[in-house]
């Protein structure tokens, strides 16, 4: 792979050559951050966990009947049979804390000591369950008779864990780097500009960078910038083909949000606001989000709430944008005579609601779509979401869960494998390498860009 890959931190060098990008395997793991006593740590964890505890989370905490159904939807339990991976169990210390500290019956629980105090030892033990073995995919919500949204609760639990300095080494390192450099994977503004230039030259496509005004602000994920730079050429081709007024912007380009994934609410907000302010500055009518799952959740569904008011522009996942273009006829595509199966990124499909968009695009491409057995909102996670793919110690478990995906893809017998998330894509790449699998994940956006019917305009 060519192009300069930057690595500005000596402390936590990135490994940008492997099939998935993260920090290098740490020689010594630091899964605990900051200097504080155990008492402080537990106090901070619990305070930050209950801080955002509104009605929604409380209702969930009160409603569980301990039926265990959620385990049957979770790839970690299904693949290992280990009951610790039962979704609701991943929240046990936090449930305990809620009941003891914040629930309507908290005084009774404390008086009778029905729930004991959570300990740091417990939280250290639970770090693996809160981070390594939950991709926040939301599949368990669908099987739960009470429809308790475990992924939301895990997100809250991560708030407590982050403030208490109990984040897995790699996830903390990339989140910290994102805060400091603007990108978790070394795609600083300079690197981004350089690589956009490089792709422009390589593919002879006109790039728009830092335009003062534009209808569309196009954002990227650092995984694409560093590992799949062709995506940048692909979106530029689409934008140019429809003659759009568009721009990349070095003030707001990074759509991933490791503040959100690691549990740092402040960093999450900072990253989101950067994009929002850039979009407002250039007068964008819409922000186009890249092929990335959690970026969609972060801006489309959480963005306005981070900002504190409705956004003055539309937020679209690139698949939604493409679907709109083929539907209203602005983009004409060649017919692709291949059989295809599509992997739904959980955050776009099950949790984002843009389930049909890629299917509309696939239809326009004329491919023979062969759905996997559990597809669309019932899909199985690739196993790399929620920041899990960055964590080296979680690799063995992740490969185990990836077996479901390989089996389902193989069963379709499709020639081509597509998705609309670069993080899923690198998880597939890594799984492919590990298992010497003969299937390679491709990008829907890139397939579209390669099949645009050039029209005179």
């Amino acid at each position: 792979m060519s192009g300069d890959v930057s690595d500005t931190t000596e402390l936590q060098p990135l490994d940008l050559e492997s099939s998935r990008v993260s920090v290098q395997i740490p020689a010594v793991r630091y899964d605990q951050q900051g200097e504080m006593s155990d008492d402080e740590r537990i106090g901070i964890a619990m305070r930050n966990f209950v801080k955002d505890f509104g009605r929604v989370a409380a209702i969930y905490m009160e409603s569980c009947v301990h039926c265990g159904a959620c385990a049957e939807a979770c790839h970690y339990y299904v693949q290992t049979g280990d009951p610790r991976y039962t979704p609701i169990w991943k929240l046990e210390p936090f449930k305990q804390a809620y009941k003891r500290e914040a629930s309507p019956l908290a005084p009774v629980y404390r008086l009778l000591n029905l729930k004991s105090k959570v300990t740091v030892k417990q939280l250290r033990e639970w770090q693996e369950l809160i981070y390594d073995s939950c991709t926040m995919c939301g599949r368990c919500t669908m099987v739960c008779p009470m429809s308790i949204d475990i992924a939301t609760l895990v997100g809250l639990a991560r708030h407590g864990m982050f403030q208490a300095g109990l984040v897995p080494h790699e996830l903390w390192a990339v989140a910290e780097r994102a805060k400091r450099e603007g990108s978790p994977l070394g795609a600083t503004a300079q690197v981004f500009e350089d690589r956009v230039d490089w792709m422009g030259d390589e593919h002879e496509v006109e790039m728009h960078m830092n335009e003062d005004q534009a209808d569309y602000l196009v954002t990227m994920s650092s995984i694409e910038i560093q590992k799949y730079p062709e995506s940048m050429a692909a979106i530029a081709k689409v934008m140019n083909a429809i003659d759009a007024s568009w721009t990349f912007h070095s003030d707001g380009y990074e759509a991933t949000n490791f503040g959100m994934l690691s549990g740092n609410a402040e960093w999450q907000k900072a990253m989101t606001v950067k994009i929002i302010e850039t979009a407002i500055k250039v007068g964008a009518k819409a922000v186009i989000l890249p092929e990335c799952g959690h970026a969609y959740g972060a801006l489309r569904w959480q963005g306005a709430n981070q900002y504190g008011k409705p956004l003055p522009f539309r937020v679209m996942h690139v698949s939604e944008f493409l679907a709109e273009l083929v539907t209203n006829g602005r983009l004409k595509l060649n017919q692709v005579d291949r059989s295809v199966t599509f992997h739904d990124p959980c955050q776009v499909s099950r949790r984002g609601g843009a389930t049909q968009a890629p299917r509309v695009v696939l239809k326009a491409l004329g491919v023979d779509l062969r759905e996997m057995q559990d597809s669309a909102e019932y899909n199985w996670c690739c196993g790399g979401g929620g920041g899990v793919v960055t964590i080296h110690r979680a690799d063995a478990l992740r490969y185990k869960t990836f077996e479901i995906k390989m089996r389902q893809v193989n069963e379709t017998g499709a020639q081509m494998l597509l998705s609309t998330c670069a993080n899923c894509r690198q998880t597939f790449d890594d799984g492919q390498e590990h298992f010497h699998w003969d299937k390679t994940m491709h990008s829907l956006l890139e397939l579209v860009a390669d099949n645009i019917v050039e029209t005179e305009q």
């Binding site: 209702i59 301990h66 385990a71 009951p83 039962t86 009774v108 009470m146 709430n305 099950r350």
Partner: protein, 216 residues
């Protein structure tokens, strides 16, 4: 005051008071919590999700059916069974009529007896599952077992009283009423509150995902 009079009078009265106050306390304590306004642009109005959510989670979606159907069926067997036994057994209807003045037709004793048996078997099966299945064994706590106990005792004592097995009828009836009192007292403190909270939980998730253009 003999045991039966105590059970019929002060015991049930006190239990019912605790049940009412406790249930309101716990429900309001949660439902009155603040909820931040959602500023995201909805894909479609959220409200319908509150209703769809109630229906959707009545039955497992097809991809999960093979893995959870057994416990759904057992769950339905004993929940419906409890409703039948509690509300369609003649003496219960008379008791309710005495209190509230309303009544409805009862089911024949034999039917209620059979349903009671099925209910008990389903509850025992679920307890066995709770103890044997590694998942439910791990996640279960005192609440789960005690809730099971307070649900099963009225059923068992009631059936014993009807069959007049083990003790004098009056004693069995007193025990039955005392066990109902225990159920009512425990209700607001444990997971029996799911009988109310399930509506709130399904509505909440249903609305969140309806808003996003999908379902829960």
């Amino acid at each position: 005051m003999d045991l039966l009079t105590f059970a019929r009078g002060p015991a049930l009265q006190a239990a019912f008071t605790i049940f009412l106050i406790g249930t309101f306390w716990r429900l309001l304590g949660v439902l009155l919590l603040r909820r931040k306004l959602d500023h995201s642009e909805p894909r479609q109005p959220a409200l319908a999700g509150a209703f769809k959510g109630q229906i959707a989670h009545l039955w497992p979606y097809q991809p999960f059916a093979s893995r959870v159907m057994a416990s759904y069926l057992l769950g339905y067997a004993f929940h419906i069974g409890l409703v039948v036994v509690i509300f369609f057994y003649l003496p219960h209807i008379l008791f309710i009529q005495d209190l509230f003045g309303v009544s409805w037709p009862a089911l024949p004793h034999a039917v209620v007896n059979a349903v009671g048996g099925i209910t008990l078997m389903a509850l025992v099966a679920l307890l066995v599952k709770r103890l044997m299945n590694p998942v439910t064994r791990l996640i279960s706590n005192f609440d789960d077992y005690f809730t099971w106990f307070v649900t099963v005792t009225p059923l068992v004592t009631g059936m014993l009283a009807v069959a007049q097995v083990g003790a004098r009828y009056e004693t069995l009836l007193a025990l039955h009423l005392l066990s109902v009192a225990l159920l009512l007292i425990w209700f607001p403190f444990g997971k029996l509150m799911h009988a109310f909270f399930f509506v709130a939980a399904r509505a909440t998730t249903g609305m969140i995902f309806e808003r996003r253009g999908t379902h829960s």
